[in-house]
């Protein structure tokens, strides 16, 4: 370390790995979060020869956790070939979990607490927790404290069939009672996003993801698991015409959102390796891209008439301005496709003077995102979206794109990531890659 003691250090994405994302009830049916997270770590360890390595911190998490997922990340680490002295932490910020785990380990490295980290996340819709009813839980707790046979008998006698109705995790916002899709349907309608636009975005996602597979883009980003070698949602042959035939599922009037332009319930896990340049060099690893910065924001979707998934609209201009950048400086935009409507509403908002200046108080609009720079290797509509795993998917893919583009063009390449999350939150992230000398090409 040559920098002064307290100067922030630069942190680089060194590599990533994910398992292909599965459909609910698909290849990973009956597979636990821990099994999937362990598999994602195992692939990362093998690819970068990290066996017996003592990583500074592994940060992971899941949005849907069973009781058995206690200390999920640390338990996953213990199942791998990493040095068992590697610390780990579970975090959760809905769909932004993956970006926040990266933010967390990056910050630790920046501050000199650690030199390396793994950020990731996992989620299973197939193996989601199912809880017992409040009444049954209370009775069972009372039963466990009962001292006499009579007390026990009377408690058992009080059990009613209705106590046994299982509770699956709710897909609705606790404060509004609306599902995420219903929330987005409101935003989609408010921004005047058409069905055709949404289906076009969905078709492009499938087309881009299929092309990425075809060119071998995922050969060094993915490790197949349980016989699955490709994202199960991917439909390489889907078209706008085929998508136009689907029934709408969210929104009451002028409904435009379908299963084709909304992400499906998914299973999967991802992991991203980050570290200082020195740590990487000592292990023969080449940095893909620098982790430059993050910003988080939140909307008042409960009382404030703001879109549930619109927090990144505010976070992104702040991220760019604070780093002295404009939208024209960005070569790749990764906007998580929770719904096609989310991406399109976000793009429109960034172009809207009324929204950006009058409502959010910025000096100017952010501007127009060129479509040819948007989600160029596909995104969640085609890949699927296991909530906490999505951040890691995007970071590793974007870092790889930036490295390739920087080396191909000989110029600095910058990319941004925008991820919206439940409860009105959003996180954005900036990555940057410098070209490596010709001899390394």
């Amino acid at each position: 370390m040559t920098a002064p003691q307290n100067a922030p250090r630069r942190v680089h994405v060194l590599g990533g790995n994910r398992i292909p994302f599965g459909k609910i009830g698909g290849a990973y049916r009956g597979v636990s979060n821990r099994d999937m997270m362990t598999a994602a770590l195992d692939g990362l360890i093998a690819r970068y020869s990290l066996q017996n390595e003592r990583i500074g911190e592994v940060a992971g998490g899941a949005v849907l956790k069973r009781a058995a997922d206690f200390n999920l990340t640390r338990e996953s680490v213990l199942g791998t070939a990493l040095d068992p002295h590697t610390p780990a932490i579970d975090m959760q910020k809905a769909c932004a979990t993956g970006l926040e785990t990266l933010n967390f380990v990056t910050a630790k490295i920046r501050l000199g607490q650690i030199d390396s980290g793994i950020a990731g996340g996992v989620d299973s819709a197939s193996d989601a927790p199912i809880e017992v009813s409040d009444s049954l839980r209370r009775k069972l707790h009372t039963l466990s404290r009962a001292k006499t046979a009579g007390q026990r008998l009377s408690l058992v006698g009080s059990l009613r069939p209705s106590d046994f109705a299982p509770l699956a995790p709710r897909n609705s916002e606790p404060r509004t009672g609306l599902s995420m899709g219903e929330h987005q349907a409101i935003t989609t309608r408010e921004w005047g996003i058409t069905r055709e636009e949404q289906d076009e975005l969905a078709a492009a996602s499938h087309r881009n993801l299929a092309a990425a597979y075809e060119e071998g883009f995922f050969d060094t980003l993915m490790t197949g698991y349980r016989g699955c070698g490709r994202d199960e949602f991917l439909r390489p042959d889907t078209t706008v015409e085929k998508l136009a035939g689907l029934k709408t599922v969210f929104g009451k009037e002028q409904a435009t959102m379908t299963a084709g332009n909304s992400t499906g319930l998914s299973d999967g896990a991802s992991a991203v390796l980050v570290g200082t340049e020195e740590w990487a060099a000592a292990r023969g690893l080449t940095p893909l891209a620098e982790v430059v910065d993050f910003r988080a924001a939140a909307t008042d979707y409960v009382h404030g008439d703001e879109g549930l998934l619109m927090a990144p609209v505010e976070a992104m201009p702040r991220l760019l301005a604070d780093n002295g950048l404009t939208i024209d400086d960005i070569d790749f935009f990764e906007i998580h496709e929770a719904f096609a409507g989310t991406v399109l509403s976000t793009l429109k908002a960034w172009e809207s003077r009324e929204y950006m200046v009058d409502r959010l108080g910025f000096d100017d609009v952010l501007g127009t995102v060129p479509r040819e720079k948007l989600n160029v290797k596909g995104s969640s509509l085609a890949a699927g979206h296991p909530f906490a795993a999505t951040g890691g998917r995007i970071v590793a893919s974007l870092a790889t794109m930036l490295r390739t583009a920087a080396d191909d063009t000989g110029r600095t390449q910058r990319g941004v990531i925008s991820v919206c999350a439940a409860s009105g939150q959003g996180v954005v992230c900036l990555l940057q890659a410098e070209p490596v000398g010709q001899e390394d090409k």
Partner: protein, 445 residues
């Protein structure tokens, strides 16, 4: 996934064993492998023959710590029998050894070894060639006759090279050791005195960068484990859908995983990247598929898929690696063939074609590579207990197991041992051969 071994279990039971003995039914013996048997040579070792070559081999076995005898009648049992017939001039010359050899065969220990060492017929003198050719019939018949896990194999050395050639030593070590447990009735030709002895015969692949395709499971996994134990630096290749199995194996063995489809052009670049500047010293083309159908029902797709993976990929990868100058000087190409490719198999026209193609290819490629000290060879497994054979119909599987001199299926490790043998720097004189690992399957040579 071990498939049930109905006959094998039956004859191991008291009643079954008695019945089998009374009726003269085959009784499969336990075959000691590398982990079961430490010593290189089973002693006493009887070396028969009065040539200087025989003296050299006897001296070499003494160096290896064996109890070496030059006669068979002064020992209670025989662990290894070497018939050194390198100076045969006439067919009747073999007769001189018969008395002693017969005595030795009678006393052969369970798991014992018979090895003939002779010269390759070269067309120079028909009388000499007739004698040299006769050795093959002798050893193949001995393979059928010996019992209790013993085997008989032959080493045939080109007439212009001395028996001190490093590949001869290498072959002797292989056939004498437990590594050749399921190799029986085979005649291995040594065509040159090229090759180099490893610094440590227990780590023969130390410092060698070896690629294994289809490495995630079955025979490929066994090859990877065996090569790792022999000291190789491994690059393990398999399809994306086997990624986690491959990654876990790579981590365990300290190798590098490459997730790639061997039929795709970009695979070569991935291999070169994984080698990270080291020359690739060997490629084991193990990736293979079956798409069985009677020929009358064979579809274009089934035919093409099998040819593409089993044969075409070997050609394409080899050419691309040579074009990129990525191979080491004493490169070792090992193709996986099959006894189906030798004898044919009902329902496997596509598979047998691909495997026969592999054997012809390594023969031709060996000629190309010879100048730089490289070799190309194939290993042809017979019936091996794998996930693939576990899916065979029960009766077919039971019969297939018995149709060889050892009356059992081989293990993936047996194929791996043969592969490791051919990959060694010491195997430089073995060129264009197909080594069968089949327990002397009744079909083909």
């Amino acid at each position: 996934m071990a498939a049930p071994n109905l006959y094998g279990s039956f004859v191991k039971s008291p009643v079954g064993g008695l019945l089998a003995k009374q009726l003269g039914l085959p009784r499969p013996a336990h075959l000691p492998r590398r982990a079961d048997r430490d010593e290189l040579v089973l002693s006493p070792a009887v070396v028969l023959g009065d040539s200087t070559g025989a003296d050299d081999i006897a001296a070499r076995l003494l160096d290896w710590g064996a109890d070496v005898r030059r006669r068979a009648d002064d020992t209670g049992s025989v662990g290894s029998l070497l018939l050194v017939l390198d100076d045969l001039r006439r067919p009747e010359d073999i007769a001189g050894l018969i008395q002693q050899a017969r005595a030795a065969v009678k006393k052969l220990q369970p798991g014992g070894r018979i090895i003939t060492v002779s010269r390759t017929p070269d067309g120079a003198d028909p009388v000499v060639d007739s004698a040299r050719g006769a050795v093959e019939g002798l050893l193949r018949s001995l393979g059928h006759e010996v019992r209790r896990g013993a085997t008989a194999n032959g080493i045939q050395v080109a007439p212009e090279f001395p028996l001190s050639a490093v590949s001869v030593e290498h072959a002797l070590r292989f056939f004498l050791s437990a590594r050749s447990a399921f190799v029986d009735g085979q005649l291995l030709r040594i065509d040159a005195d090229t090759g180099t002895a490893p610094a440590d015969w227990n780590q023969p692949l130390a410092g060698r960068t070896i690629v294994v395709t289809g490495a995630a499971r079955g025979i490929g996994e066994a090859i990877a484990r065996t090569l790792a134990a022999d000291g190789a630096d491994l690059i393990l290749v398999d399809m994306m859908n086997a990624g986690t199995e491959l990654s876990r194996l790579a981590t365990e063995l300290g190798g590098r995983p490459v997730l790639a489809d061997v039929t795709q052009e970009r695979t070569t670049a991935a291999l070169i990247a994984a080698a990270d500047g080291s020359p690739i010293d060997g490629v084991v083309h193990n990736a293979g598929i079956t798409r069985d159908k009677l020929f009358a029902n064979m579809t274009q797709d089934r035919w093409e898929a099998v040819i593409a993976v089993n044969l075409r990929s070997q050609l394409a990868i080899t050419r691309a690696l040579r074009d990129e100058d990525a191979l080491g000087a004493d490169y070792r190409h090992v193709g996986i063939a099959s006894t189906s490719g030798i004898a044919g198999n009902r329902g496997q026209t596509n598979y047998a074609a691909s495997k026969a193609g592999v054997m012809a290819y390594v023969d031709a490629l060996a000629g190309d590579l010879a100048e730089s000290g490289g070799t190309a060879n194939a290993v042809a497994p017979g019936f091996i207990e794998t996930e693939m054979t576990a899916t065979m119909p029960v009766v077919t599987r039971e019969v297939a197991r018995l149709l060889n001199s050892l009356h059992q299926g081989g293990l993936p490790q047996d194929v791996a041992e043969a592969v490791a043998f051919l990959l060694s720097p010491a195997a430089g004189g073995i060129r264009g051969e197909t080594l069968r690992v089949c327990g002397q399957n009744l079909v083909g040579r």
